[in-house]
């Protein structure tokens, strides 16, 4: 639709006219600010959650978990892209000197901050999932979404 609008405005004498073709979906999935009535996942996402690198010792990750009070600890690379998640039971069972990367779970399911928050919470309820990792469209971490946070 926007290409037609851009052409039409150019023809009407406006200029220059630019077309942001990836549109609103791209903007919202990048966790950028918006105006409107929508309740999106990004609005309820816990930010600044504990992160470690794959090479971080298990003992350090456990300390971060204790300080944070909820898990998992998210494993990110140098670009901030989520590579996996480390859960308390696996960390507690591992050697304290081991690298987190040896016990983390790969292939963690993620959602975008642009998803409708109520719809996601409903899906999570049906699947008995309490939290989900939120990433931008480029895979970088936003935070953790807890369904319970929808209720105040």
């Amino acid at each position: 639709m926007s290409p037609r609008a851009a052409w039409r405005l150019e023809a009407a004498g406006f200029g220059p006219v630019y077309d942001y073709m990836a549109g609103k979906a791209d903007w919202l999935a990048a966790d950028l600010p918006f105006e409107g009535t929508a309740w999106l996942v990004g609005m309820f996402t816990r930010r600044g959650v504990a992160t470690v690198a794959e090479g971080t010792p298990v003992a350090e990750a456990l300390g971060l978990l204790e300080a944070q009070g909820f898990g998992p600890v998210l494993v990110v690379n140098g670009a901030g892209v989520v590579m996996g998640a480390a859960y308390r039971d696996k960390l507690a069972a591992a050697s304290r000197e081991a690298a987190v990367g040896t016990v983390m779970r790969f292939g963690v399911s993620t959602v975008r901050p642009s998803e409708d928050a109520a719809a996601l919470a409903d899906r999570m309820g049906h699947r008995k999932v309490t939290r989900v990792v939120v990433t931008r469209s480029d895979g970088t971490l936003v935070g953790l979404f807890f369904a319970e946070d929808m209720h105040g």
Partner: protein, 99 residues
């Protein structure tokens, strides 16, 4: 690549196939200059420099969520309401996504 927004076979409003036309900066043919496609970072730069941002989706889509500072001129009302836009400033248009 979604055909409705990106295909080289897409047809412009004047019925001219865009793959017959030059890119901006090329030698204009038929007196038509193609609008420039931009990404997120270019959008931020342009709006920071004073470009006006126009969402062309219906009003209920706009009310649900829109980019900060965007005005709503639905596609169906574009001809009638184009006069509300500032001709002295660049214009950035967007819809929901590629489709």
């Amino acid at each position: 690549m979604p055909p409705s927004c990106r295909s080289g076979k897409d047809v412009g409003w004047q019925g001219v196939s865009v793959d017959q036309l030059p890119r901006r900066g090329g030698e204009p043919r038929l007196g038509i200059i193609m609008p420039t496609q931009i990404g997120r970072e270019q959008l931020r730069t342009l709006t920071g420099e004073g470009a006006q941002l126009v969402e062309v989706l219906p009003a209920d889509d706009y009310d649900w969520a829109h980019l900060p500072g965007a005005v709503n001129v639905p596609m169906k009302e574009l001809d009638a309401r184009a006069g509300e836009l500032d001709r002295s400033r660049p214009v950035v248009v967007y819809c929901h996504d590629w489709y």
